[in-house]
């Protein structure tokens, strides 16, 4: 049984290793990003951001799904690789909440590029980092 698990793990690992070959080379913000932000020291909140370039603007949402927060505006300064985005939604209690974030994109040529910076949600500020899946 142990060998089977090992074999399966190896196959999964090999498949994952092959995934980066499916690179995406279009707009650098397009894609699904995973990460977290830190409302306070020792606290972390998961983030999923979905962004898509529609030839005029970046559209998408933070935490797509039942508690989705549609992106209201996204700006990219490709000379400095800085990103600003804003979204509106509701928190778990159903209260309206506004999100804004300012970050810097790193490792732009990589499929798994990152954005990190400052996340502000409902008046609470913390650092964040998201990585493109």
């Amino acid at each position: 049984m142990g060998r089977r698990v090992l074999l399966l793990s190896s196959i999964v690992a090999a498949a994952l290793a092959a995934l980066p070959l499916l690179a995406q080379e279009g707009h650098p913000l397009s894609g699904t990003w995973h990460g977290e932000w830190h409302p306070a020291p020792g606290q972390k909140t998961s983030i999923v951001a979905y962004m898509k370039w529609d030839n005029k603007a970046i559209i998408g949402a933070i935490n797509p799904g039942p508690r989705s927060m549609p992106l209201k505006s996204v700006t990219l300064d490709a000379s400095l690789w800085t990103v600003h985005f804003e979204a509106d939604g509701k928190d778990q209690a159903g209260n309206a909440v506004h999100v804004s974030a300012d970050g810097k994109m790193e490792d732009i040529g990589s499929y798994n590029r990152t954005i990190s910076g400052t996340w502000t949600q409902g008046g609470v500020k913390g650092d964040f980092k998201i990585r493109r899946d």
């Binding site: 980066p20 070959l21 995406q24 080379e25 490709a78 040529g109």
Partner: protein, 372 residues
């Protein structure tokens, strides 16, 4: 033995020849021209493969274990042009190597020359094939009068020697090397009418010496890049089936099919975007007009790293004004990456003979492959 055991970090600059032409990736992304090296060692392994011939040598260290070096050379096709044969190098041969070091500090170097024990010095850089002598013959034609792009019955030949090695908007002059790297990065905005994000990405790719080029890890050269790719291309026409194939001599011998039977382009929303998209064509006098769409975003459609999106639509015109010349004109319409449609074009030359076999995946040792 001691004479083979010395590693000389050459102070004098080497007589650096031009970078390999039409390579499957930018040499400068992986190797540093400013770090010349001379190595004396003994061959432990010799791989006569594409896209790179590899020679492994052991360089003896004073009082210690020998260091193992991987020496990278151009393709077998390019080395043959430079006078190499497969039998020239054997395991156990003492050699002196001159080249440039890998940027990542690994024991790897890209070749400039290699000198055998006999004293024979071999060029280790790609040699451009001599441009075939013009035949000055007229355009060959099919019975229906259309120009013929493939060889006449009983003959051989293919297309190579593109007159331009990267996409640049027509009537724009910028200096760039054979990989498509600009001599002056400030010219980036002149190359094409790029949207701000696309200009930033193009500049990033240029500044990083094209190290993220998907072709480095052997993904296909789709779009106009197929007509820039190393080792030329063969055009296979099947008039009886109303279709035409463009078959690359480089990459992984990739091919693209164009239907000439009057069918419309598919609704790409319902299709899987591809490296070569979906193409239909029709003859207009002596010009074959091809329209293509349905491209994915997983490749670079030009040497030099110009971006594109899934909105890319190409309109291409092919003509053969004389026996020796294939004229290629392309209109790039991509509202996702460019501010307006724009044009480019170049010519290719007819080369007699069979297109040589070349597979990028055969012996690719790109260090970025594992990290992309």
């Amino acid at each position: 033995m001691k004479q083979y055991g010395t590693v000389l970090a050459s102070i004098a600059s080497l007589a650096l020849a031009v970078a390999p032409i039409l390579a499957h990736h930018s040499e400068s992304a992986q190797y540093d021209e400013k770090k010349p090296v001379t190595l004396k060692g003994v061959v432990t392994r010799f791989e006569w493969n594409n896209p790179h011939v590899s020679i492994y040598i052991d360089v003896a260290a004073s009082g210690g274990e020998p260091t193992h070096w991987l020496l990278e050379f151009p393709s077998t096709i390019e080395l043959r042009r430079a006078g190499w044969t497969r039998e020239l190098i054997n395991v156990g041969d003492p050699v002196t190597f001159e080249g440039i070091l890998a940027r990542d500090g690994s024991k790897q170097a890209s070749a400039r020359t290699i000198t055998l024990a006999s004293g024979r010095k071999l060029a280790g850089v790609a040699k451009q094939a001599a441009l075939p002598k013009a035949t000055r013959m007229t355009t060959p034609r099919w019975p229906d009068g259309h120009p013929r792009f493939n060889p006449l019955p009983g003959e051989t030949g293919y297309w190579s020697f593109p007159s331009q090695l990267a996409l640049v908007e027509s009537n724009v002059t910028v200096k760039m090397n054979s990989d498509g790297i600009l001599a002056n990065i400030a010219d980036a905005g002149k190359v094409a009418p790029l949207q701000p994000w696309a200009k930033g990405l193009y500049e990033y790719r240029q500044k990083t010496l094209l190290r993220d080029d998907p072709m480095t890890y052997c993904l296909p050269p789709g779009g106009p890049r197929q007509f820039h790719a190393a080792n030329g291309l063969f055009i296979l026409e099947e008039p009886e089936r109303k279709r035409i194939f463009f078959m690359s001599g480089g990459g992984n011998r990739n091919w693209r099919m164009v239907m000439l039977d009057g069918r419309p382009l598919p609704n790409v929303e319902n299709e899987t975007p591809g490296y070569f998209g979906f193409s239909t064509g029709r003859w207009d006098g002596d010009t074959l007009n091809i329209t293509s769409t349905g491209y994915n975003e997983r490749f670079w459609f030009s040497n030099g790293g110009l971006p594109h999106t899934e909105s890319l639509k190409l309109t291409e015109k092919f003509s053969r004004p004389d026996f020796d010349t294939l004229k290629y004109e392309v209109t790039i319409d991509d509202a996702g990456a460019y501010t307006r449609p724009w044009n480019s074009g170049w010519t290719l030359r007819w080369v007699a003979g069979e297109i040589p076999e070349y597979f990028c995946d055969d012996n690719n040792r790109n260090p970025y492959q594992a990290t992309k």
